[in-house]
């Protein structure tokens, strides 16, 4: 692969999306969690919910701000680097993205100010309503952007005239075959990601014997949700995989590194795919299980990569490994959930130190799974930008030279390292400070007010 404008633009898009997606992966679930906390406080009046909501709101403000600024970059990438894609597909994706703006961005922005700064300025029910609106906005946003993404994976409802796509049936465009699966799979992944972070933060403080009431409340809420969502997600993932097999069989062939069309296909646990030799090295697999998972039949026949011309195949190694990372994290999450049932039965939630340590270690797993899953589905779509219809290399802006994209890529890399480095540092500091009922101050006055949790955080 040469360092041309296409490859560099793809690298740039990967970089700006990969870092951006970390934030919605966290804030979509967090917005809903805050709405639930506000609702519980509004109905029960218990102070612990208010303390937790105030704490997570501060975290939300920073993450959401980073999400907004890194999100603004995205639509402009379509124009600057992928202008041919924009010209060809805008009649379809343009209105869909505009609906994201109209239904989500304004809703989030309009009510976020009231949610963050308006507690003293509006009645409590209105503040709760603002929390619900922000949460709804994040879900609407997820809905529309996944419509666009899914349409690029499994395009339906359009007609092609002179190489451009025109809408024929909007319902068919929106509810294209992969959309319902992708949407529920992604939203569930986002909720799990948030729940794991909440559990990890609770565990961190409980292990240090701080915030016992808050920590126990958070753990119970997180594992109540995870108990439902993690097993559900495994089922949803299976269904999504079957949907992919039906509509994008070559992607499944790459995910499984399956070169030959065969029945009784093994499930490979490890292999080094060699694309030039069209075979794998060092295969370790479980016989027949691949066919059972993909076709729910021992003798089910699965198409192999050799069914497609080399020019129409995606890269194999990347989806093969990223898929295994995603499934691996899923197995780890399920194990953690099973442990939580055991601890819950023993009524030792706040004291089982080994379990708390596990929760802490598991807190970033959701992010790993989201990135791995996204890489699997996007790299598996290659070499197409609109699956089967437009090749990625034909989508790039013709006036761009490799030098232009090298410069912009370097600028984005440096800027994002600074922004996300600082943001990550601030977020960790806030999370480690915990739900203290005082603003996070900076500078010398902090030493003068020795709030215990804060000084504990500083002492790390």
């Amino acid at each position: 692969m040469s360092l041309d404008a296409v490859f560099l633009s793809r690298l740039q898009f990967f970089w700006v999306v990969a870092l951006h997606i970390l934030l919605p992966a966290f804030t979509v679930g967090l917005a809903s969690y805050i709405a639930v906390l506000e609702g519980l406080h509004f109905t029960t009046g218990r102070a612990v919910y208010l303390r937790l909501s105030k704490f997570w709101l501060k975290v939300f403000a920073v993450s959401f701000g980073m999400g907004v600024v890194s999100g603004i970059v995205m639509p402009f990438q379509f124009g600057t680097n992928w202008s041919r894609f924009s010209d060809m597909t805008a009649d379809i994706v343009g209105p869909l993205m505009a609906y994201e703006g109209l239904t989500a961005f304004f809703l989030e922005a309009g009510f976020l100010g009231v949610l963050l700064f308006g507690r003293a300025r509006v009645p409590p029910w209105m503040h709760f309503a603002a929390a619900v609106m922000v949460a709804a906005g994040t879900l609407f946003s997820t809905f529309w952007i996944l419509v666009v993404n899914s349409w690029m994976q499994t395009p339906t409802g359009h007609a092609m005239v002179d190489g451009r796509f025109f809408p024929e049936d909007w319902i068919a465009v929106i509810f294209n075959p992969s959309f319902p699966y992708r949407f529920v799979h992604t939203v569930t992944a986002f909720y799990i990601t948030t729940a794991l972070v909440v559990a990890g933060v609770a565990a961190y403080h409980l292990r240090a014997s701080r915030f016992r009431e808050e920590g126990t409340t958070m753990l119970k809420m997180a594992f109540g949700l995870l108990t439902i969502l993690v097993p559900l997600q495994i089922e949803l993932g299976d269904q999504h995989g079957l949907n992919t097999l039906e509509h994008q069989p070559v992607k499944i062939a790459a995910i499984e590194a399956n070169w030959e069309t065969q029945g009784r296909m093994p499930l490979l646990l490890f292999a080094l795919p060699d694309e030039r030799a069209e075979r794998n090295r060092y295969e370790i697999g479980i016989p027949v299980l691949g066919s059972v998972i993909l076709t729910h039949d021992r003798d089910g026949v699965v198409q192999g990569l050799k069914n497609w011309k080399p020019a129409d195949r995606p890269p194999v190694a990347i989806p093969f490994f990223s898929f295994r990372i995603m499934v691996g994290t899923g197995v780890a999450m399920l194990s953690l959930v099973v442990c939580s049932w055991w601890v819950w039965r023993q009524k030792k939630f706040a004291d089982a130190r080994w379990f708390l340590k596990l929760c802490e270690l598991a807190s970033p797993l959701g992010f790993v799974a989201v990135i791995a899953g996204w890489v699997t589905t996007e790299v598996g779509r290659q070499p197409w930008v609109v699956y089967g219809l437009v090749r990625t290399r034909d989508a790039v802006t013709p006036s761009l030279g490799p030098g232009d994209v090298v410069v912009s890529l370097v600028v984005y890399i440096v800027a994002y390292i600074v922004i996300f480095g600082a943001g990550g540092y601030f977020l960790l500091r806030m999370l480690r400070a915990g739900p203290v009922d005082k603003p996070l101050a900076s500078g010398p006055q902090q030493a003068a007010t020795p709030a215990r949790p804060m000084s504990a955080a500083e002492g790390e």
């Binding site: 501060k58 403000a61 920073v62 980073m66 907004v68 600024v69 999100g71 603004i72 970059v73 639509p75 402009f76 379509f78 124009g79 600057t80 202008s83 041919r84 924009s86 010209d87 805008a90 009649d91 379809i92 343009g94 209105p95 505009a98 994201e100 703006g101 109209l102 239904t103 304004f106 809703l107 922005a109 309009g110 009510f111 976020l112 100010g113 009231v114 700064f117 308006g118 025109f166 809408p167 024929e168 802006t397 013709p398 006036s399 761009l400 030279g401 232009d404 410069v407 912009s408 600028v411 984005y412 922004i419 600082a422 943001g423 601030f426 500091r429 806030m430 603003p439 996070l440 900076s442």
Partner: protein, 333 residues
Amino acid sequence: MLALDIVPLWAGVLALSVFMYVLLDGFDLGIGILFPYAPDDASRDQMMNSVAPIWDGNETWLVMGGIALLAAFPLAFAVILPAVYFPILFMLVGLTFRGVAFEFRHLTHKRYWDHAFHWGSVVATIAQGLVLGTYVQGIPVNGRVYAGGSFDWATPFALLTGVGLIAGYGLIGACWLVMKTEGPLQDWARKKAMTFTFGVAAFIGAVSIWTPFIQLQIYARWFAWPNLLLLAPVPVITLALFAWLLRSLKARRDVAPFLAALGLFGMCYLGLGISIIPMIVPYSITFWAAASSGKSQTFLLVGTVFLLPIIVMYTGWSYWVFRGKVKAGVGYH
């Protein structure tokens, strides 16, 4: 083709989105431009507090303008953005640093993030001015593809509009502060507004004189009879707005300077529109040639007609919740 031509309607929605962005983020960015020159740290906190609850909503208009262009006039989107590849890059990076500074400066290393806030605002503003200048210069097109190079924006004219926009945003930023603050900070903002008024006048004059010589089409349009007579109100009203701005600043009025400054932006915007209509990509692609299909425009119009009034309502409500003067020490966080 539909029986009803909705292209002009979309041109209106697009024009409104871009104008809303310029006005609303204009005063946010203006505050960033003025930021390091404020009398003291307490004033800086107050300046920040005056826009903290609304800047995010203001920036949403930028996304909306970009996406409205993509959805309603995709050919223009696909041709204009490659022409301003680097200005867009500078703008996005500038906006990123300015945006995170709102949150980050409360956490640690306040001085660094204050710099990020200021320089992010300055870079984003100059970049937007470069986009404007490149646009007015004209964008070469071949078929459906941008035909120029990645550095066509690097001209003296675009640089002039880039620096000029600093004066423009600085002016509405200062007028916003006159409206939203009181005491010494307000006095300071009033002085700055006065200085920037003269700066803006100089730049509007320079750009107005230079523009017709950059593009003969614009020269022909401005100075042909009877256009000269029909267009005469634009400079006359502009001059009247300048007079009102200076008088209201001298009379220590709170709201009038802000309105006058907005009026000046409105007149410049109108002048731009008069010069290029019916082109959306100057000077070769019309709104109609760049428009997406009737089915796309209609599908989006249904939702826009229904949602836009609701958006305006709750955005207005959010401004109303945070109405009145920003007091010292009464912040957030």
